[in-house]
């Protein structure tokens, strides 16, 4: 089964093809163009690089969030469009869980952190032991300071990845078991999405084009005032 995976939840955009849990090709770019301009050439690259035609693709997987509002919409709309005509199998995966799949074979707690602005990050803690991936918590938006507090009481090696890895690493200054992922695995990649999808399809966790939905994890600020109160000056 050939699975095409798409990841454009943050700055970079990437596509990968896996078959039998083997990555056949991956294509990645991190340039200052909108994903609507970069995604399709990258999908084409990934598919043609392994001598496949699009008609050889059996399933489409995509990172569904949390992440950039526009990035998620471009990625999911593209996946739906590719899958719909031939009713291909679809897999939607948390961007954070997909990030942890980049570390298969490791023995550590993976801590993906995506900048959510306002001093917060989107995060989950995910334990990877060889080929076994276990969630330690659900995806959430959390203040960097609160996350650092949690990391203090987390045992084992903790590996930070994602676009806020450096910021969280600086804030976690002095916690010995916290380290940054190597640059090669720091940013979200469709390879993680693809590896998750291969596993998910095997265990029957998939949907169709209509079933793919973005997950905009909201910042817990709904109760906070957005508008300045009348008469208040800042």
């Amino acid at each position: 089964m050939n699975i095409l995976a798409i990841e454009c939840s943050a700055g970079p955009v990437s596509a990968a093809v896996v078959s039998d849990k083997k990555v056949l090709s991956s294509s990645f770019s991190d340039i200052k163009l909108t994903h609507s301009q970069t995604l399709f050439p990258i999908i084409q690259n990934a598919v043609s690089a392994c001598r496949l035609k699009f008609s050889d693709i059996d399933a489409v997987a995509v990172a569904t969030g949390p992440g950039s509002f526009t990035g998620l919409r471009i990625g999911i709309a593209s996946a739906k469009g590719l899958a719909e005509p031939k009713n291909l199998i679809c897999v939607g995966v948390s961007t954070l869980l997909a990030a942890a799949y980049m570390f298969l074979g490791e023995n550590a707690v993976i801590c993906p952190v995506i900048d959510a602005r306002c001093g917060q990050v989107y995060n989950a803690l995910i334990k990877v032991e060889g080929d076994t991936v276990t969630r330690l918590c659900e995806d959430r938006a959390i203040l960097i300071n609160d996350l650092v507090g949690e990391l203090k009481s987390t045992d084992g090696r903790i590996i930070l990845c994602g676009d806020a890895a450096q910021a969280v690493f600086s804030a976690a200054h002095g916690i010995k078991n916290v380290m940054k992922a190597p640059l090669s695995a720091r940013l979200p990649s469709a390879v993680g999405v693809a590896l998750y999808a291969a596993h998910a399809i095997e265990t029957g966790e998939y949907t169709d084009a209509a079933g793919l939905m973005p997950v905009y994890l909201k910042l817990p600020q709904a109760e906070r005032e957005l508008r300045e109160k009348k008469g208040e000056n800042i």
């Binding site: 950039s68 509002f69 909201k218 957005l226 300045e228």
Partner: protein, 144 residues
């Protein structure tokens, strides 16, 4: 740093904005305040011109955001007049623009003051002195 300049015409307002644009390095929010007809859009025109953008600058009242690409820095021009909640704001892509490395100019910034925490904010308040005269107060500093 806080300073005020007086403007008696559109050109003055644009020049004040162009002067500010020279100090921008990307990543800033220029948070504009001032009621209808105070010259907020005119100020953004000045920013765009100062950054070397050659195209047209119009009020994004209906589009919510206009992108001015091609100058020294990208300029994203928001009008938050009709933004009333976090869902509205999220769906404009506002948070994506903040991470895009350009300058974000926000009209009616008082409507989203809760969404500027931790950002590099330059606030620009335009007050009416007379029918044609305006007092423009620019202040740097983190939003609180």
């Amino acid at each position: 740093m806080t300073y005020s300049v007086f403007s008696s015409c559109e050109n003055d307002t644009m020049n004040a904005a162009a002067a500010l644009s020279e100090r921008l390095s990307g990543g800033e929010i220029v948070a504009l305040r001032g009621g209808l007809g105070m010259g907020k859009t005119c100020f953004v025109k000045g920013l765009a011109k100062g950054l070397g953008y050659k195209g047209e600058v119009t009020s994004p009242t209906f589009a919510i955001v206009n992108e001015y690409i091609g100058g020294r820095l990208d300029l994203f021009h928001f009008d938050m007049y009709r933004i009333t909640g976090w869902d509205d704001l999220y769906s404009t892509g506002y948070f994506d623009y903040l991470g895009a490395g350009g300058v974000t100019a926000v009209e009616w910034s008082e409507n989203i003051s809760g969404a500027m925490d931790g950002e590099k904010v330059i606030s620009v308040e335009i007050e009416r002195v007379s029918n044609s005269d305006r007092k423009i107060t620019v202040s740097d500093g983190e939003s609180t």
